[in-house]
Amino acid sequence: MDVEHAVEDLRHRTLSEIPRSLDRLIYLASMRDYNTGLYYHDGLASRFTQDVACEALADCHREAFNQLVSCSLRDLVGQMEEYINSTHTSPRNFVTAWRKLEPYRVAVPVETDPVVAHFLFSSFKIALAVLEARLRSAQPEPVA
């Protein structure tokens, strides 16, 4: 019951400010300690307990992941475009960095089915290729 309240609290206070599931996934993955796999959120932990906050964050993380998996490729590309704009990074640099580093690989919740994770990674790869092609056609690289 406490976890449900914590999830509601998290949705109401924090996640409602993050409209895109891609942003929510990245945000919630960043709340996780890579060494322990536990999630931390001081505000939520102070209103509930650390364990409850951790479980609520994990639930919301899974939810954001499932929402992103359900997105069409068109939607994913759109979300990535908006995400790039929100980071104020050069789109070219962003696409290059994401293609090389594949940061989305660490944003997957634990115990995700490997096929589902593979599907999302594959969609990211295609979405980045679509974005790169758009960037190329919008602004041809200068000839040396």
Partner: protein, 192 residues
């Protein structure tokens, strides 16, 4: 000398056969390990691989339409290559989990008196059909790509879901508490 080598070879062959047979039968049928494996296979199929939304997304034609209308040939090729890989992985995983379930039911039919013979027969037929369908679908996707057989994908996913339901019914007498005990027991064994 030739006779000695001949008999030694036969001896080695027999020893190797014995070793492989012993390894193959090392897990007793109906053991807690087999039961947990079957439960895990059921969960993997029902929660991970077979939800209609996921199957629809992997084989979604609208994604291909989007890439075809938006992206150059290189990206279209990448898309087909990637979706083909995912589709083949999906079929392979469904097949692996079905095989795991089948192994459990084949072994446990003799160990659990409470299993319903009619359900077990129905399952045996479903498993046989599914294993063949998976192989065929793998071949079709490998040759024709991820969009080669949409109806077959749907039929296979539905049949696998049905088989899972029958299997679940068949295993209903094994409640969560029993599984919890088995699971903690196996973890303990693994840790020791």
């Amino acid at each position: 000398m030739i006779q000695l080598i001949f008999f030694l070879s036969i001896g080695a062959l027999l020893f190797a056969s014995l070793f492989f047979l012993a390894r193959r039968n090392s897990r007793p049928e109906g053991s807690s390990g087999a039961l947990i494996e079957a439960r895990q296979a059921l969960v993997a199929l029902q929660a991970g691989l077979l939800p209609a939304e996921l199957v629809h997304r992997i084989f979604a034609n609208e994604d291909w339409e989007f890439v075809r209308s938006e992206a150059p040939a290189k990206v279209r090729e990448l898309f087909m290559e990637e979706r083909k890989k995912v589709a083949l992985l999906w079929v392979e995983q469904v097949r692996t989990q079905i095989r795991s379930l089948r192994r459990f039911h084949r072994g446990s039919a003799r160990s659990y008196a409470r299993l319903n013979p009619r359900l077990e027969m129905e399952l045996a037929l479903s498993f046989a059909w599914l294993m063949s369908a998976c192989r065929l679908l793998q071949l079709v996707v490998y040759v024709g790509g991820p969009y080669a057989a949409p109806r077959m994908v749907g039929a296979m996913a539905n049949a696998a879901s049905r088989a899972c339901k029958i299997s679940e019914q068949s295993l209903a007498f094994l409640n969560a508490a029993q599984l919890g005990i088995l699971s903690s027991g196996s973890t303990g064994q693994a840790a020791s």
